[in-house]
Symmetry: C2
Subunit: 181 residues, 2 copies
């Protein structure tokens, strides 16, 4: 495995183990067994390396979409929604990195391609269900945002101090009921 790929792999491992704050260029280099300047021979800077890591995250998200179980369009859409929230809760650091535009470069071609592919796939699932009053892609954007906010708010622990703490599954059920019920 070349140094470039090992840097990406090492960064992914550090990310999963110690969180976004621990993913430092020098730390990655040390963990990969190279000097602190070596990463700059393969990436223009930290943003480009982390963008490559985030691209892997979006790719896994896309893979989950293509491996949905058979069933009615509605069942497939519901499974995709569960899958999105499940991915975020299982890989909190990766999920955070994927939407931290101060750490990654959203204009990175590979990253932009796979992230918009994720949206297009999702929009196709929404369109397949049908029965909407407006453009399915508009509904898809709204529903995706709802899922995204659910994951984000839950990871943030924003409701931890409130008087009422719902489970993410229960909140997701309400969300799906609102859109699909």
């Amino acid at each position: 495995m070349g140094t470039r790929q090992r840097l990406i792999t090492t960064a992914s491992e550090l990310l999963a183990e110690d969180g976004v704050g621990a993913v430092t260029l020098r730390g990655i280099a040390k963990a990969a067994g190279v000097s602190h300047g070596a990463p700059l021979r393969h990436f223009s800077g930290r943003a480009e390396l982390l963008s490559a890591v985030a691209t892997q995250g979006f790719t896994e998200l896309l893979d989950r979409r293509t491996r949905l179980p058979d069933g009615t369009p509605r069942e497939r859409l519901s499974a995709a929604c569960h899958s999105y929230v499940d991915f975020a809760l299982r890989n909190p650091a990766m999920f955070e990195l994927m939407f931290r535009r101060d750490l990654i470069d959203p204009d990175e071609p590979a990253l932009a391609a796979v992230s918009s592919a994720v949206f297009d796939e999702f929009a196709a699932l929404v369109a397949a269900v049908g029965g909407h009053r407006t453009d399915p892609r508009l509904v898809a954007a709204s529903l995706w945002a709802a899922l995204h906010g659910l994951a984000q708010l839950w990871l943030w622990g924003g409701l931890a101090g409130a008087s009422f703490v719902p489970s993410p599954e229960a909140a997701l059920a309400v969300t799906l009921d609102a859109y699909l019920g």
Copy 2:
């Protein structure tokens, strides 16, 4: 105005002007006209200062809730939803700071109090509308997450590269229609 309050005010101004990345402890001190070590006489560290700034953000959010126009419960809830997204889009840096748990301390008493008050206020608005099949607070959590995700996704520009770019107003309309329609 005491130094402590001036530090908070200066930090808020820097945040609004130059974004989250520019809000550095030393930069705040310089802009406030004190030495780089002075802030530590009033705050235990960066997290405590930024938590105070974020608390002001949540307080403004709460103020918006208490100044909703008269009308039916449904109209008031709709106005609150618009207000939330509007706040996020108008104050992107503040909105980002308010949910960056690596920069602030969510357990800060004042911050935890006002943020959960925002949720409780919102849950009360949802409950006033009525007609839900489940606990209104559960619906409130789901709807809040939808609004939050909408603002977040829009600020992130995640759909900028996609083949279809909806306006935030249109997406919000779909969201409200799903929950209230």
